[in-house]
Symmetry: C2
Subunit: 236 residues, 2 copies
């Protein structure tokens, strides 16, 4: 009764013959992706998800046990798509170019793909209102990306990825990008011309890269001017 981890009891044997069944399970996941991306975990309702999936209200509990398990499954599916982030593994280009490419890719995924970047939108909800399902995804998916991103930025400024300056820079960049997602509703009112056309999105991405690299290069050259291993400048 307490154990929720192994839910689809009836589905465990996988009786080698199910077509319609697997269909609604998949449809539920698709509908749930959309709903959770739109309204977050608490905002999305099981009824809405089932309605959009063309399934009965009891379908969620039948296939996933409860809403949280469905949500966890959605996060897991997202994780599989996210973690094979092609650009993040490419070590042949300069870290500066990599940084620019990552920023652009993220923003494009958010605003210009035919159906917007659902994984990222769900993450944004988590960012503001974390759920119990977050811990696992955080460690499995988000942290590797975060660590890799710190390495890239660290490479640009010539500091280890654990250095406070590196982390502050990483969060400055993340903050800029996330801002356009998190604050979209209010941004639209504060800046009506911001319609997020593909052109505009690319310009925003370039701006964030330019804006950030200006400081990163400052740190880099400041470090060059001092003797290496002298890490106690900063915080004048």
């Amino acid at each position: 009764m307490n154990n929720t981890s192994d839910y689809p009891l009836s589905r465990r044997p996988v009786p080698a013959t199910r077509l319609a069944g697997e269909g609604t399970r998949e449809k539920l996941l698709d509908a749930a992706e959309q709903a959770f991306a739109d309204h977050g975990f608490e905002g999305a309702t099981v009824r809405e998800i089932c309605l959009r999936a063309g399934a009965n209200i009891a379908a969620v509990n039948y296939y996933f046990g409860d809403k949280l398990n469905l949500y966890t499954e959605v996060l897991r599916r997202f994780a599989r798509k996210l973690d094979v982030e092609a650009a993040l593994s490419d070590r042949t280009v300069s870290p500066e170019a990599l940084l620019r490419a990552i920023i652009r890719m993220r923003l494009r995924g958010m605003f210009t793909s035919q159906n917007p970047d659902l994984p990222f939108r769900v993450m944004m909800h988590e960012w503001a209102h974390p759920t119990p399902a977050m811990d696992r995804v955080l460690n499995d998916t988000l942290r590797p990306l975060y660590d890799r991103f710190r390495e890239i930025v660290g490479a640009i400024i010539g500091l280890p990825r654990d250095h406070e300056t590196t982390r502050l820079c990483v969060h400055s960049i993340m903050g800029q990008a996330i801002h356009y997602v998190q604050g979209r509703p209010i941004l639209a009112k504060l800046w009506p011309e911001l319609t997020m056309t593909p052109d505009q999105v690319d310009r925003i991405a370039d701006h964030i890269a330019d804006f950030s690299l200006a400081y990163l290069h400052t740190v880099k050259s400041a470090r060059r001017r001092v003797t290496p291993d002298a890490r106690e400048r900063k915080r004048s």
Copy 2:
């Protein structure tokens, strides 16, 4: 029935003698501030607010008609505190110093004041999940601050406040600061050492100022190198 704007029907005459009554109304507002700052509009419950105010569950409806009106009133009260932003009006110091002071003040208010900056925290919830009450506050309170901030940044880079570059820079700065508020729960897991001590908060504020001014000064000098009125650089 439809009109919700003039609710306290029974309170309109203000019969010149009410002490206990005004007391609970004020207590409700105080409790609501805290609750809305903690959980946002939807997350906060009327029952919790009344409990914290030591009032009956019906008190909210008696004094404010409904939850949304109470919330609007809270936002209005915040507006009165926010809009006389001392630092924002000071035009004697350099815009750079002003920018730095504003960033520091905001972050300090968020993380180190004895009771944290409730207005700002409520705004952060609005930022992610806007409510119908937002429109009025947006125009009355947030937009003037936003416009003034654009002027300050515009003064630094020598561009009008409506220029796209100015706006992009403004949002880059806002994004950085908001990031530490919005993403606090997840930041705490991604970066456990970030305990937001007063020292650390000041260091973050300085970093955001340094990070941003690096680019702003780039734009300024880039504009100096070209003939004035030539606005069509940028977006190489």
